[in-house]
């Protein structure tokens, strides 16, 4: 298990070298980016067999002293492995894609540096078992995102970045305040040890207060419905690979994953929390899709759909039943893949035509067959048509809703899915079908690296329904579900091992 820190260390090292070496070696930024994310992806596949047990890595070799952890622990369990897979898969696709795509921007070396720092931050958040360490890596991710959103330095992008920074800054402060109170109450920062201490302090109102602060902070970072104001501006403004990371991964790691880890495994789940999650999920799902219907900017439309799909994930997790959590996590991974793919499609359209206004596009399926075909697959996935992956996860969520005694929510989720389909039929109709306009007569298909990234993700969209095959499910999804349903037993697992 000596390789667990490599998830963070490899991207960081490459990021530190890029600013210097890129001065002489023009190929270095691309090579560094692909090498770092590629090896991180390989490592996360290597980590798959470790999903069933909880492995703890003691940074600095500081073993617990009299049973109290004194160093920082890295923890690898089912949920971690699932998130690592999702993060590094999309990150690798995005770096391959950005080899060509970022030629439209200046100063690729800085882009690569920031992108790798973002990936390192995400991996750091996922593998960490220490609350303050999580906060530090949150900040790395967030600051890299702020800068990447404004990477094009146009007026709109700067404005979106500013909005994002203000809300993100408030969120960070709330989280830090929560951590301060957590330390104040428990005297420890280790998540597992904290859970053990908190178990003796049941009913202390301070725990609810800490929970409220952390929930608000994570919710702001993850753009759950009442806190979503920054997302529809920030996600479309970034360069396409960054939008794909932001919508596909960042909001899930900083929002859903953090909430799951802290509430399910440390602070303890209460029925009140679950019903809050359910309500937020339903509201996000409905409002997101309704707002998306009215959009004509392709990436902005996708950003609203991110809010809506986050609603599905939160509904699944908020049900609290094993089936619901399974659906939520499955949909999380699926959404990571198809939403990233859609953003990459939007980027390819923008790369080829220079616009992402759907009204100005049209008939591009003959000119850009790869982009058109992959975006069709992704659209059907997000709308939940069989046999694509989105169908299976939505099916599980709907079944879980019925099973848990919420048939109205189940019906509502199906309705939301139909509206999503309508919205994406609009995209297909205006962007790819219909008459080819005179303006686009000389448009060409996107370069090979971009096509390769899109095709790989599209194949995943088709193949990921296979995650429900019992033997595959037992290896990948079930360990992650067990981490959440196991609740506070996380403490004994992460300290006993």
């Amino acid at each position: 298990m000596n390789w667990l820190p490599l998830f963070v260390v490899v991207p960081l090292g490459m990021a530190f070298l890029t600013p210097i070496l890129s001065k002489w070696l023009k190929w270095f930024p691309d090579a560094a980016a692909n090498l770092a994310t590629g090896s991180a992806m390989a490592l996360s596949i290597v980590a798959l067999p470790f999903a069933k047990a909880t492995t703890v890595y003691f940074v600095g070799g500081w073993m617990p002293f009299n049973g109290v952890p004194i160093g920082i622990h890295l923890v690898l369990d089912g949920l971690t492995v699932l998130m690592l897979l999702a993060v590094n898969l999309v990150a690798f696709a995005c770096t391959v894609y950005s080899v060509s795509y970022m030629k439209h921007y200046t100063d690729k070396a800085k882009f690569v540096t920031l992108f790798l720092l973002m990936v390192a931050g995400l991996n750091g958040v996922v593998v960490s078992g220490d609350l303050f360490n999580v906060f530090v890596f949150f900040e790395i991710t967030a600051i890299a995102c702020y800068a990447l959103v404004a990477f094009g330095v146009e007026a709109e992008e700067l404005e979106a970045s500013f909005k994002y920074q203000v809300l993100g800054g408030v969120a960070s402060s709330l989280i830090l305040l929560g951590i301060a109170l957590f330390y104040w109450l428990t005297g420890t920062l280790n998540l597992a040890d904290g859970a053990r201490v908190l178990a003796q302090k049941e009913g202390n109102p301070a725990v609810f207060f800490i929970g409220g602060l952390l929930f608000t902070g994570f919710g702001l970072k993850g753009a759950l419905m009442p806190f979503h104001a920054w997302l529809p501006d920030a996600h479309p403004s970034a360069p396409a690979p960054v939008s794909a990371m932001l919508s596909g991964v960042v909001i899930k790691v900083l929002g859903v994953y953090a909430i799951c880890r802290v509430f399910f495994n440390v602070l303890g789940v209460t029925p009140a929390l679950l019903s809050v999650l359910l309500v937020l999920g339903v509201v996000s799902m409905t409002v997101g899709v309704l707002l998306a219907l009215a959009q004509w900017d392709f990436k902005r439309l996708l950003a609203y759909h991110s809010i809506s799909q986050m609603g599905y994930i939160v509904i699944g997790i908020g049900l609290g039943t094993p089936l619901g959590i399974l659906g939520g996590l499955f949909h999380l991974v699926n959404h990571t893949v198809f939403k990233s793919l859609l953003f990459l499609n939007a980027g390819a359209l923008e790369y080829a035509t220079g616009t992402r206004n759907l009204k100005r596009l049209g008939g591009l399926n003959r000119k850009m067959p790869v982009t058109s075909g992959t975006s069709m697959i992704a659209s059907f996935s997000i709308a939940g048509l069989p046999p694509f992956n989105g169908f299976w996860s939505k099916l599980v969520i709907v079944l879980a809703c019925v099973q848990a005694g919420h048939p109205i929510i189940a019906g509502w989720a199906v309705l939301g899915s139909i509206l999503t389909l309508a919205s994406f039929l609009k995209v297909q109709r205006y962007a790819f079908w219909g008459e080819l306009r005179e303006t686009w007569a000389r448009v060409r298909e996107a370069p090979a690296p971009m096509c390769a990234a899109m095709i790989a993700l599209a194949i995943l969209c088709l193949a990921m329904g296979a995650l429900l095959i019992p033997s595959v499910k037992a290896a990948v999804l079930d360990p992650a579900v067990e981490v959440l349903t196991g609740g506070l037993s996380y403490a004994s697992k992460a300290l006993g091992g």
Binding site: F132, V136, E139, I143, Y146, A147, A150, V153, E154, A155, E156, L158, E159, A160, S161, F162, Q165, V166, G169, V170, S172, S173, L176, L177, I179, A180, Y183, W184, L189, P232, D233, S237, L291, A294, Q295, R300
Partner: protein
Amino acid sequence: MILYTLAIVLFLVGLYGVLVKRNIFKIIIGLAVIEYAVNLLFALIGYRYGGAAPIRTQGMPQDTLFVDPIPQALVLTAIVIGLATTALIAAVAVRIYEKYDTYDVRKIRKLRG
């Protein structure tokens, strides 16, 4: 108790600034105030009556009473993170001013929806 309360008041004043002010630089000042307040609260948590600063010097008895060093280490990190975020947001604010010629967020509204 009163110290913690005052630190929270400082936090809320900063939050008020972020939520209510319409000038970009005032919002940045509000964020800075929030950071100060959280750092202050964190440092207050680590204080111990009669404790010495957590630095050993030669000849100090082993059982000297020290204040809690962990919050200090964490606040140190938080201060540097605060500096980093402030520098980045100030740079973005300057660029926004360059593009729009104003700090008034009501006039900076290209993005709607």
